[in-house]
């Protein structure tokens, strides 16, 4: 069943607060092989002009993946996750994510398309601090093969 075009623009509630920790940043940096001390050493991060250790590029996925998952599980969307592949991903940062950030992720459906028997779902997740300071946006396009 093809995705309903009326879904475009549908917004979802903000996520629970995600507390960004130094250990999680270090774990992620290890996983991608990012060795820069600014990801592990608060003194090095401060010397580079940051208030605390900063996360490497793409770290936002650790919170936006589940936020975008809320959309996939919406009964009106009902994407068959077993047929889903990740088509595209974009990040736009106002500033780096850093340890101590208390972040909230808010998803919005940006686009739905059916191309060649596949459903394409584009979801934007806006990430801001609990106090409303925009930090980054993560836009993902998922391709559900053969479901359209």
């Amino acid at each position: 069943m093809a995705l309903d075009p009326a879904l475009v623009g549908r917004g979802y509630p903000p996520s629970a607060v995600y507390e960004v920790g130094r250990q999680k940043i270090a774990e992620f940096a290890d996983a991608i092989g990012a060795a820069d001390p600014v990801h592990r050493d608060a003194d090095a991060a401060r010397a580079a002009g940051h208030p605390d250790v900063i996360a490497p590029p793409t770290f936002a996925i650790t919170l936006t993946l589940s936020a975008a998952g809320v959309v996939v599980e919406d009964p009106d969307v009902a994407l068959d996750y077993s047929r889903v592949v990740h088509g595209e991903q974009r990040f736009t940062h106002h500033r780096p994510i850093r340890a101590g950030d208390r972040l909230v992720a808010t998803p919005t459906i940006e686009a739905v398309r059916s191309v060649g028997g596949n459903d394409l779902l584009t979801t934007r997740v806006d990430v801001a601090t609990e106090d409303g300071e925009p930090v980054c946006s993560a836009t993902s396009m998922l391709v559900a093969r053969g479901t359209a």
Partner: protein
């Protein structure tokens, strides 16, 4: 807080140093834990082949992160990467053979703005095939 590469030192066409990153099955396990993506196609051969893949494949997001490392290696500053857009192409198949796969990243400055922002166009391959059909990073240069 901005990059150590200066806008005055680069031009459209400036090439980034080529980087190659190994990816093993262990890396996929570690990345699954770190990212929260436990999709079994990234660690379970049976499931990967059942859904028609040649074998266990790397998370697209891991490949995206590795390609970003090449950009950060060039700028000298992870915070300089302000925008990043990729389109996932061929999967990175990671065999369970003790060696795994290699991801190679080449980059070139595609555009340069008045504000010191540069667009870097990346070519990301593994086993001779493009694994990202589009990969563009915008960096804020010093």
């Amino acid at each position: 807080m901005t990059a150590t590469v200066r806008a005055a030192d680069v031009a459209v066409g400036t090439e980034l140093p080529e980087q190659t990153y190994p990816v093993t099955r262990t890396d996929l396990v570690r990345y699954a834990g770190a990212s929260g993506d436990f999709n079994p196609i990234h660690w379970n051969e049976r499931v990967a082949t059942e859904v028609g893949l040649p074998g266990v494949i790397a998370h697209g997001m891991l490949t995206m992160a590795l390609a970003a490392r090449a950009v950060t290696a060039w700028t000298g500053d992870p915070a300089a990467l302000v925008e990043y857009h990729v389109r996932f192409g061929r999967p990175v198949v990671v065999p369970d053979d003790g060696t795994g796969a290699q991801v190679t990243v080449r980059g070139k400055v595609g555009a340069l703005g008045e504000d010191g922002r540069a667009r870097v166009d990346l070519t990301v391959t593994s086993g001779g095939e493009k694994v990202l059909s589009l990969a563009r990073a915008t960096v804020q240069l010093a």
